[in-house]
Amino acid sequence: MPAGSLALLTQGAMVSLLLAAGAIAGGTLLAILLAAMAFSRLAAVRVVYRVYVYIVRGTPLLVLALILFYAMPALDLRTGPYIAGTLVLIIYTGALFAEVFRGGVLAIPRPQWESARSLGLPPLAMFRKIVVPLVTRYTLPSYVNVCVMTVKASSVLSIISVWELTLAAREIIERTFAVFTILGLAAAFYFVMCFGIDRLGRRLERHLALRGFAGVRA
């Protein structure tokens, strides 16, 4: 193995993880807002949601990233690749998380809404005591899935010159031609991150499972 490459790849993996963490945090916040828009009383707001999800899910992440990277300086909003990269990941994961959350809200059984209303719960309490606990449990598997996708998607940012694991690997390969070793190591890093997130998610799922509550995957 070329000297120093393990350290470089480890650093790259840290950057990838940071990018993904930022995107997951920002994307989740954006998704909550978007999902609220999906259930708005105003038809225009719901249309905005549909259009947003349609565009983001219908164009490749790389194209979104390049639009932001090339076109934003054209609009005189100069950002470095890291900011642009995190931003595009947030835009992308926001749409995916929003669809997940929307599905979760739709899955809440009707009697839950009716009993909440008959108890006279104010909207905020309804959100805190019913929507959040149920949607968290319903959507956790898909949520974790999107988190794993985000880690993998962050590799696309290497093409817009964000230095992370994939770009680190590519640079070492171009210098040393140690294709198999370096890509194998990079794959191992990604595998550990993605598989780790998946396992953590399953643990959390078991931790949150409510015994005897129908509709919640135990």
Partner: protein, 216 residues
């Protein structure tokens, strides 16, 4: 420059790039479905070790980004004496990656087949291969049409990554035009619209097919 003029001038360039995107996506989709079926066959009738090998393969590809196999094949094949063109390398990488997902989708549908059918197949003396080909595969493919549609849409979008290994498909074309003309907005908006059309077209095609074969 107005969009109409932009499209009038660069329309033909986009058309060529669109053809490359369509060809690679179509070839990779067909390849991935065939490869996924093969992986399913190995999982179902390859014994314990066959199932384990397929499981490892699927886990590996599900937990690593598509760019890695793309780079692996593109950079490594010339080193082992296979100087294939970039398009072939890229398509092959997409097939390997998406085949893993396809085999998982198909595996989910196998459970939807009534167990009795396997007993029936054995009782009329069908060989394992005939059972797979005549009974399992047709039903599994039909059950999987919606999920396969989703996967093919993802694959279609992933063809944009082939621009990283210098294939002049839509994304690469937009990049080149941006560098030539300095007009990033026009170049990429046209490409984004083309992708949206391709994705919507694929979704409609799968929905129509799903409706057409709902005889099960």
């Amino acid at each position: 420059m107005s969009f109409t003029r932009w499209v009038a001038i660069y329309g033909p360039t986009y058309a060529t790039a669109l053809v490359w995107t369509a060809i690679t996506a179509l070839a990779a989709a067909c390849g991935a479905i065939v490869w996924g079926c093969l992986l399913l066959l190995i999982r179902l009738s390859g014994g314990r070790w066959g199932a384990r090998a397929v499981d490892g393969y699927v886990q590996l590809f599900r937990n690593t980004p598509v760019l890695l196999p793309i780079y692996l094949i593109y950079f490594a094949f010339p080193l082992i004496g296979l100087p294939w063109p970039a398009v072939v390398c890229g398509t092959l990488a997409l097939i390997l990656q998406n085949g893993a997902y396809v085999s998982e989708i198909l595996r989910g549908s196998v459970n939807a087949i009534d167990r009795v059918q396997f007993d029936a197949a054995r009782s009329i003396g069908l060989a394992p291969w005939s059972t797979f080909q005549k009974i399992v595969l047709p039903q599994v493919l039909v059950y999987s049409i919606p999920a396969l549609g989703n996967q093919i849409v993802l694959l279609l979008k992933d063809t944009s990554l082939l621009s990283a290994i210098s294939i002049t498909e839509l994304t690469m074309q937009a990049k080149l035009l941006t560098e030539q003309t300095g007009a990033a907005y026009e170049a990429f908006i046209v490409v984004a619209v083309l992708y949206l059309l391709l994705v919507s077209g694929t979704e409609v095609a799968f929905r129509v097919t799903h409706r057409a074969v709902r005889w099960l």
